[in-house]
Symmetry: D2
């Protein structure tokens, strides 16, 4: 039996020292430490292909840098995310910002043109620049036939060296899948063109072949789920018929008992064949904006 | 100031009596009572169009009947849901069942061919009948051009009087939107056909025009969100540019603090224009399988 | 394997019908149904002594009636609760009320003399009547030597037929234990007397002998934990050295992962010997104001 | 308006750099950063007396070191905690350890003599040494008249330089209050003596005078609540009649909606007068084993 060792924190200590100590402590700290260790194994396993499922509004909350740096350092091979994250990424690539709000009056924000995401604000005026982007680039976008290639094209149209997930994935040739892209600001922009009589033929099912083929071709697979939702599920189903993941890290605040996918422990995936019996995995019940830098700063 | 009145429960009491008493109590009970009252106003407002966003695995958990009966009683005008709910609905329409499991061993379930969703099991063999359904009906499905019409067609192919959400929506001409349909067992079935060289051209963005037009045309709007996710967000964005909801009920177990849409209180929607300043609304923090029958049994 | 049967809700249905249907559904509904069934077995087992641990602010939220009726119907043999619940019970026995508040401005409430407990308010002026009660009855209270007898005495001083937990426990000779009574409004009242130079010698440890003896003497034991905290823990430790519970129902919204007693599943108690290996038990993750009437209305 | 700045994490970075960056990010990260900043202000305000309320099983989870170092560095003036934390502290002072368990079989643990606290184990045999300690030291303990002095005496009996909260508080003359001490392993040990016919007269209410006097005498007050429960409430009520806190940090995973004190936001305290209108405060919804070292390592 392995002893619990009390964490010895001190001014000036390094994050990696703290996180390694956390794996000797209990409760959630232990999980952070284990996730860091599993990430290390996953990333250093040269045969392992890593699928990152990114839900939540991680970009508005300032998590973009960590995701970008994980991709730049070649730790991620497939990104599945929400239209929301990509829309906010694009908004920041268009030189807009998100803002703090530590208290709120939503009726007042509405009058002033601010949209609230918990303790983060976005100016409503960003939609104009989004409109301009899609209107201006429409000829370059309108012939894309699936969501992956549409997102790749958007990435290619952003300035080189943009601190943007879309651009960095384009540069690193990392596919981005986003099954519910229609359900986002980017979707709204495309709707705007459709409503204006323009046309685009993006196939709703095309990307599945792609991701399932990639899962099939990958002998060793690692998964990182931030926040559940469509990104987690889309990765899970690509694994269901391709032998399951060997490594898994899940960060979520939702609970198992209400039966949703976002709160379901990774263990449950074993019954479906989405996780191998001998996989190394951990569920971290923590706000992702706290857990992400702790778990991953060692690798960037 | 309105007094709290202790709930007087007794053997043989009616659900409606309990729920009305709940609105005189505090904490979550009060919210159940308020949701019931707001549902009553929403449903009896003849100008009000009701958008139901249904996430979570509500069908495997036995909530199908309540959804079907709300649709049959003309209380719902638009359904947005996950591919998972529709897949499980189709599975039950194909005469399969879901099963209880009050304790679990996921490795063992995998060996025995059971897939677990918290305390609910599905037999893995259902995929064969799903395959047969899509293979057999492919000629009738392959020309559909958007997700809504594809789902309508699937509904039409089920036996009349099926206890099925897909079939009842078809019968009652209620549109079903499912932006991430690819991300589901139904998606997998379509992938199977594509992988076999067959073709289907379902446009990923087409449905947006439809739901936004409907939102625009509806002067008074009510929303019911069960569990957040894509269904909530897709309705929210159709409201953002069409004046916002007048009535709102949200049932979720996720929390606000981690910034995800699933835990965001309805109030937040005011900043975006997704909820009117004078809307009547309530957030119910409760497992939906407990809250749904309490809130809605009065109306079916 | 037992099938999930979709809940069929309808206007006019009885609570007991709904709850019995819930045990055929999944997720949280199943747990409500199981809790109701286990309560039935626990209450009808004539050898079983039932320990109710009641934390949370259940009295302000209107749950007093259910607790009182469970006691009156002879289903509860020991009550362990917080000083807060007893203080609010006493406040209501002194003819004060609690009030609804569906939105809040705490600075304003402070100015107006209202104290807030989530969506429930209490008038600050209640403290005057509490003061008067303790000042007026001090001679009758000052010689009590342990918390149980002090609470029994307080109960005896309330008007007969009061809708009060304190009074009903006195009438039914049900012991109330409250290890942290100092930590409550009643505690403050006693502090007020002490500060004025009066004296009372209540032994902090005396009640333990009592409850542990009772646990030892009870061959069959059932536990009902509402909300964790000191009440749960005090019962748990009385069981630890007296063979563990045979039946268990826990209602909580806290989670297991952060390691607190309030979120710990009953199962964990098996390692400590607080729950028997063959016990019948269920954890209900639900707001207690919703779960209590559903689970227990059959028995009152 | 203040911009969100994406966190830039990197190998070798310091905890303080990360935490300062967190205050520029959103959601929970922002709260960690704010808590760190408020702690800095609280600790450097020379007039401020700091009340630490420590619930949860923080000692078994390896958080002892941080608490001890905060006390040694003169940042804490009053500690209110649970009997559980003190019992586990004493157990470790008696040279026992806690152990990791990343998966569990509670029936098996019971047979092997291990008691589980989520992912932490304790050997059942510790009770023997606890017994021996209390039996051996009884003559030195039996004359204590209140909980504070009893705990101080226990601290004094531990070896000098013990890594023990009890000993360090004794050395630094920091009072420990523990209203529900009976509800703990230490309580059980005292019960054992009482059951054997020995006697001890610890007054259940005596400590209140002490803590309320101290609160009254402190012009500026800061509160740190870890996990709610009795510790939070006991501090809150000492503040209610002594002008409220000027600084506040709360770390909890419980939610507000179910109305318990453990999940109640600090803001609610304003209505009661437990928090000043102009106080600086933040609620951190996070597992305390993760939040504590992040927030406090700067100060030890």
């Amino acid at each position: 039996m392995e002893k619990i060792i009390p964490i010895k924190a001190k001014k000036g200590m390094k994050v990696s020292d703290l996180v390694h100590q956390m794996s000797d402590a209990g409760f959630g700290a232990r999980k952070i430490g284990m996730a860091n260790r599993i990430a290390g194994e996953m990333f250093s396993d040269k045969e392992c292909k890593v699928f990152l499922g990114l839900a939540g509004a991680m970009v508005p909350a300032g998590m973009k840098g960590i995701i970008i740096d994980l991709i730049k350092s070649d730790n991620i091979h497939v990104l599945v995310t929400t239209g929301a994250n990509l829309t906010h990424d694009l908004i920041e690539a268009l030189k807009h910002n998100h803002y703090h709000c530590d208290s709120w009056d939503d009726e007042d924000f509405n009058k002033k043109g601010y949209d609230r995401i918990y303790n983060v604000l976005m100016k409503n005026e960003v939609y104009e620049d989004l409109e301009n982007f899609f209107e201006g680039k429409w000829d370059e976008l309108k012939d894309e036939k699936n969501i992956r290639s549409l997102l790749e094209k958007i990435g290619s149209l952003l300035p080189e060296n943009s601190e943007s997930i879309l651009r960095v994935c384009y540069d690193k040739k990392i596919p981005i899948y986003c099954p519910a892209l229609a359900d986002s600001g980017i979707g709204l922009m495309i709707w705007g063109r459709l409503a204006a009589g323009k046309n685009i033929e993006v196939n709703a099912f095309d990307d599945m072949k792609d991701i399932i083929d990639f899962a099939w071709a990958s002998k060793i697979k690692g998964v990182i789920y931030v926040g559940g939702g469509t990104p987690k599920n889309f990765i899970q189903q690509s694994l269901q018929f391709s032998s399951g993941a060997d490594y898994g890290i899940q960060i979520t605040t939702d609970i198992a008992d209400s039966g949703g996918s976002s709160g379901a422990p990774l263990e449950e995936g074993k019954s479906w064949g989405k996780l191998k019996d001998n996989a190394k995995y951990v569920d971290v019940r923590c706000d992702a904006t706290i857990a992400l830098p702790l778990i991953f700063s060692d690798f960037i």
